[in-house]
Symmetry: C2
Subunit: 321 residues, 2 copies
DNA sequence: GTGAAAGCGCTAACAA
DNA sequence: TTGTTAGCGCTTTCAC
């Protein structure tokens, strides 16, 4: 059932049908009678416009690309739900891509999105190996810089609108909690890749500790890979306050840590809710990541940007709770 | 940069360009010279075909719709990665939709996918309120039944290819473990909605217990909502072996359960990995859900079905580990 | 108020 | 081996 058949059924031209069905009946001052007739027939026949054909003309595909450099477990679903919650009621649809933390895939997926003519992109960027600077996708070109894009969760070198977490503040909050608990030796635990979120949390944490008279020598930083090494575990074991940038990472270290240290004498903190928190036999404080809100805010910001291409960049920061 | 410009640059017709760039140079016996020339120019100019225009002709959009009735936490990201891993190297792209467990949204999203002319759909269906039978989406029509579709995780009333978990076997495995542990009073814990996965796990569990001489009166079933009621908790407290169809659900009950019962005297089992499993002060056995594999298998099955529309239905069952 | 006609970028039947 | 021509379903001038 297409516009042509409808027009035949109604005895009007395809273009009149198009006008009515695009909601432009008023604009073109189409008579109520014809408009109603067309709408009725279209409804009865279950007409659905072909968005491919429409997009070919309008250069709008009503698709939003969502690119995750890696899937962040709980995260991804929540962010997605947030995005969709905001997009619901609009005609936009989400295309997703995950990149398994590979920079080649990351670049490729960005290109694929552009090829698909997405109207905008939400990007959770890659965390690079330590020391490597964030870089523009290799194939960065004009078309890319023209597509509206919101960066979430981590900074990238792209100069775009952003929705971030208040990572520095989170580190600060944790440090303050540790200080109240009269701790003396501190550790910071993060995964090996470098991302702005982890760096921000570390900075806020270390800064606050130092400001309160803690010496650098009493603050250890551990950046661990898939499996923590014995050396890393023993570094952690010396601390009586451990802040991990990532709950899953912390938990994966605990089973080894408990072999060489009494866990109850340590204060823990980490980012990301832990399901079994209240029956866990440790003193753990977790900060929740507002993932869904991040999705919603990112979608909101992206739609706004699509309407307002000339406006200055916006940066939103969401507190961890 | 479109096919027309390329053709002008090469001094050939658009259709020759189209043939070469679609990889059909051989098929149409286009001379090596022209083919090479076209490829070179296209490459130099960074030509990217417009897939909208192509799809309008071919009636293939090279998109796969992925519909999640609800986001299953960890699950969603893993399934998505599995799907994408299989789709990588093909030209297919994934469109996703989540439905927040709402049956209205679920129907709507299915319609949107069809409207988008996806080439195939992977569907994680809705779990309905207790007693309600699974139903076809309200707007089920011809076009829908024509779109290839693979159902994952839970049965639906749709008669389609499926990738499921071996739920019955999982229940059986758990029951056997409990029996070895000389347990006497058993419980099964599930969320309130009814889905085939939960029913299968329950059936395998109860069946095996009964087969081993356990009386019905010694097997309790608890179907709980968001928050377990005191009554539900006290039912659970009577058991010395508790199998939950869902780890998160189990954990959410434990904090209350521990107030009225010594957790160490209970054997627990549940489906879904628990991060902190080895430092958790309970006797818990978890079965892992092969979510990524499910994604991969579903994608594989869907592509196969798209190629083989006439073949009989296939049902794949993935063991929980 | 409505319609005719051109065209979005590409593919495919039919010629040559 | 290549080109001509006619669309795919829709939007959009421009004309009446």
């Amino acid at each position: 059932m297409n516009i042509k058949e409808i027009s035949a059924l109604c005895g009007v031209s395809t273009c009149t049908v198009s006008r009515v069905l695009s909601g432009d009946a008023k604009k073109y001052r189409i008579s109520d009678a014809t408009a109603k007739k067309i709408l009725k027939v279209a409804d009865k026949k279950g007409y659905r416009p072909n968005y491919l054909a429409r997009s070919l003309n309008t250069r709008q595909t009503f698709t939003i690309g969502l690119i995750f450099a890696n899937t962040v477990d709980f995260f991804l679903g929540r962010i997605l739900e947030g995005v969709e919650a905001h997009l619901r009621g609009t005609d936009y649809q989400t295309i997703v891509a995950t990149c398994e933390n590979s920079s080649d895939l990351y670049d490729e997926e960005i290109q694929r999105m552009l090829y698909r003519h997405v109207d905008g992109v939400i990007l959770y960027p890659l965390a690079l190996a330590g020391g490597v600077k964030f870089s523009l996708p290799k194939t960065a070109g004009k078309s890319e810089s023209d597509t509206p894009c919101v960066v979430i969760g981590r900074h990238s070198s792209l100069d775009r609108d952003e929705v971030m977490f208040c990572d520095r503040e989170a580190g600060q909050t944790v440090a303050e909690g540790f200080l109240e608990g009269k701790r003396r030796r501190f550790a910071f635990l993060a995964p090996q890749g470098s991302c702005s979120a982890d760096r921000g949390r570390e900075a806020g944490y270390v800064e606050t500790l130092k400001k309160n008279g803690i010496k650098t020598s009493a603050i250890a930083t551990v950046r661990t890979g898939e499996k923590p090494t014995p050396k890393e575990i023993s570094t952690l074991a010396k601390a009586d306050a451990i802040f991990s940038t990532n709950s899953a990472l912390l938990l994966s270290c605990l089973s080894e840590l408990k072999e060489i240290r009494d866990l109850l004498s340590v204060k823990f903190a980490s980012v990301g809710k832990v399901e079994a928190e209240d029956i866990l036999p440790i003193d753990l404080r977790t900060l929740s990541v507002p993932a869904r809100a991040m999705g919603t805010e990112a979608a909101k910001l992206l739609l706004w940007r699509m309407e307002n291409p000339g406006e200055p960049l916006r940066r939103i920061c969401l507190p961890l709770v």
